[in-house]
Subunit: 342 residues, 2 copies
């Protein structure tokens, strides 16, 4: 049976108002008393749900999602997951696109202070050099959950995938398929996710005693046509790579276009694997080997965690760092000898 | 030079407050006076922008977007366009997914009354049987703009594409490629968009004197695997179609999977064309012929129109019905004789 606020206050020997304030994390209540209230609430299995419902009158019942772009398979699936949880819990979802622009992201986040939202889910733009604006938001009492592109500092709750591991496994897979010169295509080099994936790549090269050639790290940009031209130039070199590891889906697609334009046959002349949530990966010519992140689940986890924080259902002080596993799916683009058909 | 409220009231011989109320479409002002004010505002090139800015304190500066799903190339691109305009104009965007469920859509819309948003952009769920909830919303003073999946009644502003025309052109293209038995794959049969596309299909058959076979209209559902099974059964029939016209992208993808599973060669044994915003259409095997809607532009137009209505920049009484043209892009999947390569 669930316990109400009255019962809780009786057990604690505190006024209902004090208990309520403690549960709301009010500055009027001492840290010590808050701790006592939280512990008793947990012990008696007090359902903060009902309380939260009462509280909501002062809340916006709205969360914000700040992402680099939306016409992107990974992010649209993640939003789908976020929306699912938000709908279940009765929250509204505001969406903002940073378009990989740090100033944009910063001004968006600044506008989120002052009660417009109860919490924020964010995936950093590729251009972010600081998370001060997010520290300020969190300090103002608006909880923040990061996913996928997260700061390294460890001070925020995060939902990520096993990026180092996947970088390693993808590279090892290419080496076992016979590649000896694997180019690593990347964007947004200073994000920790980019670095983790690349560290996995480097570690696999080391394990198989392939000397690392810095020329094999290709810095791409948001300009698709520019990337295709860059790849065409590289793939025409005498000393061209025999494998591509694309750290982002759009770079794999650019590679397909580049190969088509210069008539380079995949997988015979060039193998490829990519991080990707493309639903048509198996229908491409050749079908694309992918590391597929559980994007929908990432969104669900992020929203669940954020709403727990908003509703103070999560009484503990730990900072959750949830890591989900991605799948490596082998298809024809990285086969030693390609099978016929799709 | 821009004219302010004072100047406008002097010219009209009305109090500033009355002019302000008239511009805000207040019930306290007669229709006749409102008309006079609107006309003078237009004549003097009064910039309602500044006025709108003042007004915003009483507004939410938020619009809602209600769509069937977001992990969908068409809708995520449309949202991208909506977000672009919203950001430019300083509006926040709430997103809601109906998941093709009419009850869901209705309860979402009901929650949007009462000041949470200043306006709504919606694309109907496949299940919608009535737009009463949207009529009520509009009557309560919240402007509503429809896009893509719109009601037939003509009482709302809409952004659509030339669906009848595209249905006709796609079918004609398939007939000229040599098809004589073209199956039309559809979902959400009672939506006007579905009917328009199909009417175009019927019209093209008529023009080329191909008798219409009702068995060639295939009713699909939201169950992907179910659709693949349905298509496999149909494509194994002796009297199977020699062409597929998919009215929705996901049905084209289901067809590719079905053909792959039963080893039916496209385009030699089966040609296909589809409405689609798939960015990898040219990389599929075979590359997919598409009718591609200008999804990003549709989103931009919808948001522009809605914000005009919210800010009463649009003084006229007409109901905008904007129709944008889609592109038919021929690729290998519908070639008379397929070219080599991509």
């Amino acid at each position: 049976m669930s316990v109400n606020l009255k019962k809780l206050s009786e057990e604690l020997g505190l006024s209902i108002s004090s208990v309520s304030k403690a549960l709301r994390d009010s500055y009027e209540i001492s840290a010590e008393t808050k701790k006592r209230v939280m512990e008793m609430a947990e012990k008696l299995n007090y359902q903060p749900n009902a309380f939260a419902r009462g509280l909501r009158k002062q809340k916006s019942i709205t969360i914000a999602v700040v992402i680099p772009e939306i016409a992107n398979n990974f992010f649209s699936l993640a939003i789908d997951g976020i929306q699912m949880i938000a709908q279940q819990k009765g929250y509204h979802v505001l969406t903002y696109l940073s378009h990989e622009d740090a100033q944009n992201e910063e001004s968006t986040v600044k506008h989120l202070q002052g009660g417009r939202v109860d919490g924020v889910i964010i995936s950093l733009c590729g251009d972010s050099s600081s998370v001060k604006h997010l520290q300020a938001l969190q300090a103002s009492g608006v909880p923040v959950v990061f996913f996928d592109r997260v700061p390294e500092s460890g001070e925020f709750p995060t939902i990520t995938t096993d990026d180092f591991d996947c970088g390693f496994r993808a590279t090892e897979h290419m080496l076992l398929a016979g590649c000896r010169r694997i180019a690593y295509l990347r964007m947004n080099g200073h994000l920790s996710i980019t670095q983790k994936r690349m560290n996995g790549y480097l570690e696999a090269l080391k394990k198989y005693r392939i000397p690392f050639d810095p020329k094999m790290v290709v810095e791409c940009t948001n300009d698709n046509n520019g990337n295709i031209e860059l790849l065409k130039r590289m793939l025409k070199l005498k000393n061209r790579p025999d494998g591509i590891f694309a750290s982002v889906e759009k770079l794999a697609i650019a590679t397909y276009h580049a190969c088509s334009e210069i008539n380079l046959k995949m997988p015979e002349q060039l193998k490829i694997i990519s991080f990707s949530n493309l639903r048509t990966a198996s229908l491409l010519s050749p079908s694309l080997s992918t590391i597929t992140q559980p994007a929908f689940e990432i969104g669900r986890e992020a929203a669940t965690l954020l709403i727990q924080m908003i509703e103070k259902k999560n009484f503990s002080n730990r900072i959750e760092q949830i890591v989900l596993k991605s799948n490596l799916i082998e298809r024809n683009s990285s086969r030693k000898r390609a099978k016929a058909g799709l």
